[in-house]
């Protein structure tokens, strides 16, 4: 009973603050006579609903733009997961691989993914490949790091037991090391997903003709604050869904693992 009461209280307080802030926003915009056409929250929501049904730009509704962005994130993310997990696991388990690739990886890692934008544009042009490359870089680092950490922290007793029971090297790697590293890889995937979502935005803001980042930058170009804020709203919603989807996936896939609750 008290738990339910507490929940209701949390809802009242949280919702109250939220509404209060929105109200303040509305009042401030209405009261001040600003040079900048800053929209009220109501106008933003109205525009957002409008965007769901009418085209932003020439070709797509906001759902189309979100799908464009998601397709880019998905492509970069998948390539990065494939390469990053393989590199991380092998670096963590085989010392020769680590000796060869670790220094190069450490050399390139500190460079922020966004700092690759100019070079990526020079190399790949301003089409899709450039965005895939950037998202790949943003997602590759956390995947590799976490797979590496997972492979180096495998329980030594498990490995010893497997060896004693006569497992060969490939069996130890595939049957012991890989499954043991999966929880760590999943937490890497969370970071990688939010990184690549953010990098996609930056990449689209620098140059694109569609996508959710384009909506914002197109709003800036015509000084349309309502469109920008509605775009940000969409970004927030999709980012929230992505993060939670990943968490649910992790809980479903890793029922045996109680590390991450």
């Amino acid at each position: 009973m008290s738990k339910k009461k507490q929940k209701v209280r949390a809802l009242v307080y949280g919702g109250g603050t939220f509404l209060l802030l929105l109200f303040l926003w509305e009042i401030t915009v209405r009261m001040t006579d600003s040079q900048i056409p800053f929209p009220t929250p109501l106008a933003v929501i109205e525009r957002f609903v409008d965007m769901l049904f009418h085209n932003v730009g020439y070709y797509y509704t906001i759902i189309g733009h979100v799908l464009w962005s998601l397709s880019r994130v998905l492509a970069g993310f998948c390539i990065a997961s494939a390469l990053g997990i393989v590199l991380g696991l092998t670096m963590g388990w085989f010392s020769y691989v680590r000796a060869i690739f670790m220094p190069i990886f450490n050399l390139l890692r500190p460079i922020a993914p966004l700092a690759w934008i100019p070079l990526a544009i020079l190399w790949f042009g301003i089409g899709e490949k450039y965005k895939y490359f950037l998202i790949f870089i943003a997602a590759f680092v956390p995947f590799t790091l976490n797979a590496y950490a997972g492979a180096t922290h495998v329980d030594k007793q498990l490995v010893g037991a497997a060896k004693m029971l006569g497992a060969n090297k490939a069996q130890v790697f595939f049957e012991i090391v890989v499954p043991a590293a999966i929880p760590s890889i999943f937490s890497g995937a969370q970071v990688a997903l939010s990184n690549s979502w953010m990098t996609m935005l930056a990449a689209e803001m620098v140059c694109a003709t569609e996508g959710i980042g384009w909506i914002i930058i197109a709003g800036q170009a015509v000084n349309d604050m309502t469109q920008m804020i509605a775009g940000m709203l969409a970004i927030g919603i999709v980012g929230f869904l992505l993060a939670n989807g990943m968490r649910i996936l992790e809980r479903r896939c890793l029922v045996w693992n109680n590390q991450g609750n």
Binding site: T17, F18, I100, A112, L114, P118, M205, I235
Partner: protein, 262 residues
């Protein structure tokens, strides 16, 4: 056994050095010897090095020397980072310690958190122009969020037993906060500071690329417009080095300040 192990470690080191050397050698061969890539796309490592050294004193083509760019970027990022830490850490502690603040602010914060700081850049540019303030507020946003999240988690994961001990000995609520909760949350807070430093450095680059007249991000963006890939590579390397130095400083501070840190 130990001798063997030493030999093994030595061999690994040799391989590492060879791999690094090979990386640069291939880069050199591709650009200088085989000429597989035009210089505007991938300059040779020697050319990049030369540009990097020359950039310390030459103002061409972007109007500032490398130290001026570094100084401009550092000023903005440290300004935003300090504001983010000064506001974010106490807010996180407040939210974790005082239940009403938690209930009021958590939903708002969770909502703001889902929007990446980069998405704020155009709005900030419209509202605040392309000067220091706009960029610093982008950096502030990206530093603020990890600070709040980590100090919140740190305070929330204070051991109940420690608080009970404090209560048994008659400590007041504020005393409990300052003597028990905050010290035990310090490692978390420092992790938050490190994360926020990294993300603020990253978003600074984006902010400078989208609207600026100085700074490292501006330099590499201009390098793209002028097809000066050597300039871009110099900028990227400097961005990497500066990021490493900044996090090394925080690591050092953590070792000095936090008891029981790794």
């Amino acid at each position: 056994m130990t001798k063997q192990r030493k030999q093994f470690a030595f061999r690994m080191k040799v391989i590492s050095v060879c791999a690094l050397f090979g990386f640069f050698l291939i880069w050199y061969l591709v650009t200088e010897v085989w000429k597989l890539a035009p210089e505007t796309l991938l300059p040779s490592p020697l050319k990049a090095l030369e540009t990097g050294i020359g950039k310390w004193s030459i103002k061409k083509p972007d109007g500032s020397t490398l130290p001026q760019h570094i100084f401009a970027s550092l000023r903005v990022s440290l300004l935003g980072f300090c504001f983010g830490a000064v506001i974010g850490v106490p807010l996180g502690i407040l939210m974790a310690w005082w239940e009403k603040a938690d209930m009021c602010l958590k939903p708002v914060f969770d909502f703001v958190r889902t929007i990446p700081p980069i998405a704020w850049i155009p709005i900030m540019i419209i509202l605040l122009g392309i000067g220091v303030v706009a960029k610093a507020s982008i950096v502030f946003l990206s530093a603020f969020i990890p600070c709040v999240v980590n100090s919140y988690t740190g305070i929330k994961s204070t051991k109940k037993v420690h608080i009970w001990v404090g209560q048994t000995f008659g400590a007041s609520k504020t005393r409990l906060l300052f003597k028990v909760a905050i010290p035990s949350a310090l490692p978390y807070i420092f992790t938050g500071l490190k994360v926020s430093l990294n993300s603020s450095w990253g978003s600074l680059v984006a902010a400078e690329m989208l609207g600026s007249d100085s700074g490292l991000g501006y330099m590499i963006q201009l390098g793209r417009l002028l097809c000066r890939a050597d300039l871009i590579i110099v900028g990227m390397v400097v961005i990497g080095i500066m990021g490493t130095i900044l996090s090394a400083i925080l690591d050092f501070m953590e070792i000095k300040l936090v008891k029981g840190a790794m």
